[in-house]
């Protein structure tokens, strides 16, 4: 199962899921804020959240892992 990664550098604005949540493809899981724009990051596949790697307010680089699915 592919991890959900940040497609650009930015600050975590909102974490929308928690461990054990089931997600659907296309569901927003994280809102990233980059250059004053809120960018929703979506799950590409269905799965269950096993780990949320980031906290709100944290800075992530492009390619950083945000959420692990199983």
């Amino acid at each position: 199962m592919p991890d959900i990664i940040a497609n650009m550098a930015g600050t975590i604005f909102k974490v929308l899921v928690q461990v054990e949540d089931k997600v659907e493809p296309g569901q927003d899981v994280i809102i990233l804020e980059s250059m004053k724009m809120e960018i929703p990051i979506q799950a590409e596949t269905a799965g269950t959240v096993t780990e949320v790697k980031v906290e709100e307010g944290e800075f992530v680089n492009e390619g950083g892992v945000l959420v692990v699915l199983e």
Binding site: M8, A9, G10, I31, S34, M35, K36, E38, G57, F59
Partner: protein, 448 residues
Amino acid sequence: MLEKVLVANRGEIACRVIRACKELAIPSVAVYSDADKDMPHAKLADEAYQIGPPPVVQSYLVQDRIIEVARESGAQGIHPGYGLLAENPEFAERVANEGLVWIGPPADAIRAMGIKTEAREMMRDAGVPIIPGITSCVLNADGAREVADDLGYPVMMKACAGGGGIGMQTVNEPSEMDDAFTSCSRRAETFFADGSIYLEKLIVGARHVEIQVLADDHGNTVHLNERECSVQRRHQKVVEEAPSPAVNPALRTRMGEVACRAAEAIGYRNAGTVEFLMAPDKGFYFLEMNTRLQVEHPITEMTTGIDIVKQQLAIAAGEPISFSQEDVGINGHAIEMRIYAEDPVRFLPSPGTITRLRFPEGEGIRVDTGVVEGNTVTPFYDPLLAKMCVWGPDRAAAIERGLEALEATELEGLKNNIPLHKQVLDHPVFRSGELNTSFIEEHITGGS
């Protein structure tokens, strides 16, 4: 005149304000985050103070630190630019309470315009036309449906505490109401920590036309004509022009009078902008008031010859506005193109290092920028790299000059929206002046 001014902002607007200070021989003080130490605004001012780590909540929004720098540097006034602390009434109040001069409107005026439903009510009572709709919030989808039945579909759903287009949603028919209410309310809760929403009638094919106003402490309120800002993406402006192709002298006078009345109704001082939606039949309706210097102020300066930032500094120092309404004319036509570090097709931000940067210079071209070649554009701040403004004796001449200026610009190292601007200016619909806020969506793909 003020003796020393701290500019509590960054980027092009900080540079703009510092330049005005220099021209008035007012010493200026810049503040900068760790990410901005090599940026032009930190070097242009007479003094510069480091205020914290890159994120704005740890630097440009830290009120204590900014007040401390004002004290340490001996600044007498604080200019907030736009964004950041510019529309924060608590900060405006605090600056005043500290015995410093706030170069902006009174805190009460900022507050009055901050809650959109209350602003609508206040404007209606002052005789300013508002978009048909309600001036209180609805609690649930059933309540929203009731209001929409009265107004007639389609309707626009908005956050009560919102602004700047965030969370706005069109509802075309009753069956869409449940989903729309849930998502709009959730977005409002996420972004403004207040999930309440209200409804307005959707005005199909509307333009965005705004009036620049100035008010001083001596009872003078004047307007500096309109700006047309219909060319938007994600409800954010991309290209603005003055005057509007849709406004004739009689309508200008009427809109200007209404805007001045709106400002007077809330005890406004300093520079502000009253935004209107204009229906295809030229009926105009209050949208919101921006209680600060506006990004697109240069096109008003280029067509009126009035330096708005210098007027702001003078008004804040207690001086009267240096001209009267009859002195405000319109000379030619000006267009502003906002050059953003963003993918021109998907509109996603594109941070990176600017490896080459050359802007054209010459008659009728003004570029307000806050970056130079070699600067790194970070993810921490907004993507505006520069405002390229062009002037011509008429609209067609301004468009031609704009296209030439875009062609002559060299910008490498990050994705940017210059290709989009070329498409906009060259588009037959843009050239015709028949604009509405869906123009980009309907006509522009953004590719080169």
